[in-house]
């Protein structure tokens, strides 16, 4: 069998040597554009689990890798001048150059032909072969050549980053956060041999431009970063290696093989450097591919099986990398946090390490977090024994929840057709309180008959309903005095007058329905009932209905109120440009679309007891072009928090 490997990175060389071991008769050639020994980047990181896979796959490389390792178990985080350490994270670091030397040496020992300084620009110039392994990196020529099959998607991150080395010796994986007049910068640094550390500087694009780093030379960038992190570098230097500011590109492909060609490592997939898994994934790909080739006779089956095995693992890691990348891209959002909470947030950013994992790794670190959180509701207490954070009290205005569990009664349609909650409804509410939830929320409660979703929704628009709610709350308080109760007020708008949801979602009532209202006369579903566009008097009436419901709810004894401005109901339909096409002061630009919901919020806030919290449920995205997206919601939050609501 003739095999050609394009790219002498960790993926290509490791795959070649494993394949040669498995099938000694194979003629394997590695083709590499750079000279032997040339490398970009500094150190690579492996976890202990990856290392045991290496030991199984090829002991000599494993032994040589472990000889050169530096091991550490702590993560240091310096934020606002405070250094926080969390232990128990086993990592091993190695110079990328040392890794490549080990792999190259091993390839030569096994008799693999290596052609360095051979630039391939056209696949046609490659030698004939039975299997072509494309390990040619993030800018893979092979991937581009077969773009029609691989259907690559390349996502460019919004941050700018640069790889440096430093001769400051670090003893832990180190995150540094430093703010100056241009903005916030962060560093991901880790040791990889006894004398040098990798030092990656990252910032958002706006800060990067304000700092003028878009036009600086490598030496000027080094100067800038050395000055910025002078305290951390303690007089040591940053080292360049043809270092440039770049944006991270996340590579995904619809498939990783075509015919006898297969993608490996970065050519197939990349994962953001902040989770330090690129080299690990590449070398694990190599192990999986060779295993698959030696267990399947048919090449096509072998390549399919390789992809079937690797894809879920890679996608899980890419998801974690996505979380981590977007965390760092939006890091400025967290800079108000107290340093230890910031550090906890940082460590758990990707979803791969949980609170419980951290407690196993560093009990003292988590105990300190517990203490911070348990003390947050009552600053006068100094706690020696702390409950886990979710079981600590949480204060919103003057309402103190006994724990941080909020449960809602999700089942709607358990009211009489007069909008009065039934005994079954009361039983469900009580079950949540009995389960120990600190806050129990109702499903959407209509503020007016025409604001109901279905004919069997609960309501809060007449004294009978209020009395039923009040009786229910009184009974609940008697049996479960610790539970706090929240009501969600809603006007269904054009998503009202629907059949029972036992029949499916959003099936309109026809003959038995009622008139619905909306900012614009557009039906909720295609072919659905067309609502009436609200006029000024109609809006005023609905605002007053919300206020009336608020008074009734306060008198009934609710502790918390939530307004429903999500899921396509009336307030949500004002917010979205897809459903609000008005040309008066309640439609058009964002401020206008927010106007009516804000009028309702302000009126409700004024009517709702000042010491009780008011919350807002918002749609995060319309999921459709031209609709609400995360950015618009962020502005919303600013407006609402500068206004009157207590919690969103």
């Amino acid at each position: 069998m003739k095999v050609v490997v394009l790219g002498a990175g960790p993926a290509g060389m490791y795959c070649a040597l494993l394949l040669k071991k498995a099938t000694p008769a194979a003629e394997i050639t590695i083709i590499e554009r750079n000279p032997a020994g040339a490398t970009y980047g500094w150190g690579v990181v492996f976890s202990d689990r990856t290392l045991s896979a290496f030991r199984e796959a090829d002991y000599p490389t494993y032994a040589r890798i472990t000889e050169q390792f530096v091991l550490w178990d702590a993560i240091d985080m310096r934020f606002r001048g405070e250094l926080i350490r969390c232990g128990g994270h086993i990592f091993a670091g190695l110079a990328r150059k040392a890794l490549l030397d080990i792999l190259r040496e091993r390839c030569l020992e096994l008799g693999i032909a290596m052609r360095f300084e051979t630039e391939i620009t056209q696949l046609a110039t490659l030698p004939e072969c039975d299997l072509f392994i494309a390990a040619d990196g993030v800018n893979s020529l092979v991937r581009q050549h077969y773009a029609g099959v691989f259907k690559p998607s390349l996502h460019v991150g919004t941050s700018k980053y640069i790889w440096f080395g430093t001769n400051r010796v670090l003893d832990a994986f180190t995150f540094l956060f430093q703010e100056n007049e241009h903005g916030l910068f962060q560093v991901h640094a880790y040791p990889f041999n006894g004398t040098t550390s990798t030092f990656i500087v990252e910032t958002d694009e706006a800060t990067w431009r304000r700092a003028g780093l878009d036009t600086t030379t490598e030496a000027e960038s080094i100067d800038y970063c050395e000055q910025l992190f002078v305290d951390d570098l303690r007089g040591h230097q940053l080292l360049g290696n043809n270092s440039k500011w770049i944006s991270f590109v996340t590579v995904k492909n619809a498939t990783w093989h075509v015919g006898n060609t297969v993608l490996l490592g970065d050519a197939a997939h990349t994962a953001h450097f902040s989770i330090g898994s690129g080299t690990k994934l590449a070398m694990e790909d190599a192990i999986a591919l060779v295993n698959s080739l030696s267990t399947h006779r048919d090449l096509g089956e072998a390549l399919t099986s390789y992809e079937v095995e690797r894809r879920p693992i890679v996608e899980t890691l890419q998801q974690a990398a996505h979380e981590s990348r977007t965390y760092f891209e939006g890091i400025a959002r967290y800079r108000h946090l107290p340093p230890r909470q910031f550090a906890f947030n940082l460590l758990t950013r990707s979803g791969r390490i949980s609170y419980d994992d951290l407690r196993l790794r560093d009990g003292a670190f988590v105990a300190a977090i517990d203490c911070d959180i348990a003390g947050s509701a009552d600053k006068s207490q100094r706690l020696v024994v702390t409950p886990p954070p979710w079981l600590t009290p949480f204060a919103l205005r003057n309402v103190v929840l006994s724990n941080r569990v909020a449960m809602s009664v999700a089942d709607s349609e358990i009211a009489t057709n007069a909008g009065i909650p039934t005994a079954m409804f009361a039983a469900r509410l009580e079950a949540r309180a009995a389960a120990g939830a600190g806050l129990v929320m109702t499903p959407p409660v209509a503020v007016t008959p025409n604001g109901r979703i279905t004919a069997y929704d609960t309501g809060m628009y007449n004294p009978d309903q209020q009395q039923a709610w009040a009786a229910m709350i009184a009974a609940l308080r008697q049996n479960h005095p610790q539970a706090r109760l929240g009501i969600t007020l809603n006007h269904a708008g054009r998503r009202g007058s629907m059949q029972s949801r036992t029949r499916g979602l959003d099936v309109p009532l026809r003959a038995d329905g009622w008139a619905t209202v909306a900012p614009t006369a557009l039906p909720y579903t295609r072919g659905g009932v067309v609502p009436v566009a609200l006029d000024a008097a109609g809006m005023e009436r609905i605002r007053d209905e919300f206020v009336r419901a608020t008074h009734l709810a306060a008198d009934a004894g609710f502790d918390v109120m939530q307004l429903h401005a999500a899921h396509g109901y009336l307030l949500a339909s004002f917010l979205s440009p897809l459903t609000n096409t008005r040309d008066d002061k309640y439609g058009g630009n964002r401020a206008n679309r927010m106007r009516f919901p804000l009028e309702v919020i302000d009126a409700v806030r004024a009517a709702w007891p000042q010491d009780h919290p008011l919350a807002l449920a918002l749609t995060v995205t319309d999921g459709e072009g031209g609709g609400i997206c995360r950015t618009s919601v962020r502005r919303w939050r600013w407006r609402a928090s500068s206004g009157s609501t207590a919690a969103i």
Partner: protein
């Protein structure tokens, strides 16, 4: 959880007599349901027609399509067909629809493949309206309309369950795979604010008997799923061939919250029904 058996409608060389006898035997042995599969290209009987004849020779056993490839069929005709089977069976049909897995089924039927998901969504959206609008002369008392179910593993499938259907049909696999899908179906259901919970249907393949029977079952699966390429080995590996594996499988599904499990034959011999019933009774 109730457990039913598949009708052998997707085998070459199966006589109409066997289908009828199979249905009678399944009911006589106390199995909960008769399930049918659908493929346009492969040998076999049309699923709703097969269920109609099974309905005529049975009186209590439930009838379920797992699934019918909806987009291959005209929606109004499918609505009338399914309502008819429901009425002829006196209220025993559950209609499971999905997009199927094979392009050649679409090519054979002359239906556009690319728009299959949109077509299925439209069918589900209008199925109840069609059933309502053209009521049968005498709607069955047991339940006036068929249960409407949908299959598939994509996010869109779970959204369809939550929006239009009464329940979800899982495509098969070990209990842990069912659990993952069931969690998604329940989550989509709760997100949609639907009362109660979705009915969850599972399925598996079995072959009970001597080595030759098991080999025949394996050969059938390799042929039926040849289009999946190397994945066929995974399907073959999950074939239930011993009383113990069936017992474990049934228990795993019950614990995962499955409401109704249908075990499909891979060998078209009538003894399979009795062998299965014996294992389930044990």
């Amino acid at each position: 959880m109730r457990v039913g058996v598949g009708l052998p409608t997707t085998f070459p060389d199966v006589s109409g007599t066997l289908i009828i006898d199979w249905a009678r035997s399944a009911e006589a042995h106390g199995l909960a349901s008769l399930g049918v599969l659908d493929r346009a290209v492969h040998d076999g009987y049309e699923p709703l027609v097969a269920l109609a004849s099974a309905a005529a020779v049975t009186s209590n056993i439930e009838l379920v399509t797992m699934i019918v490839i909806g987009p291959l069929r005209n929606t109004a005709v499918l609505a009338r067909q399914s309502a008819s089977v429901h009425a002829l069976s006196r209220g025993r049909l559950s209609l499971g629809l999905s997009i199927g897995a094979r392009k050649d089924d679409y090519d054979a039927a002359g239906i556009d493949y690319a728009s299959r998901g949109r077509r299925l969504t439209e069918q589900l959206a209008s199925m109840r309206d069609l059933w309502d609008a053209r009521p049968l002369p005498v709607p069955p008392q047991r339940s006036p309309l068929p249960q409407l179910l949908v299959g598939g593993g994509s996010d869109a499938s779970f959204a369809r369950v939550a929006r239009y259907c009464d329940g979800y049909i899982h495509g098969g696999g070990p209990p842990r795979a069912f659990t993952r899908a069931a969690d998604k179906a329940r989550a989509a259901w709760a997100d949609a604010g639907r009362p109660g919970r979705p009915h969850l249907w599972g399925q598996g393949y079995f072959a009970l008997g001597d080595q030759a029977t098991i080999d025949a079952g394996t050969a059938y699966l390799r042929d039926y799923y040849a289009f999946t390429g190397p994945y066929v080995e995974r399907i073959v590996a999950e074939l239930l061939t011993t009383p113990q594996s069936i017992t474990q499988f049934v228990r795993g599904y019950a614990e995962a919250g499955c409401d109704h499990l249908v075990l499909f034959p891979t060998v078209a011999h009538l003894d399979q029904v009795e062998r299965l019933a014996t294992v389930l009774a044990g």
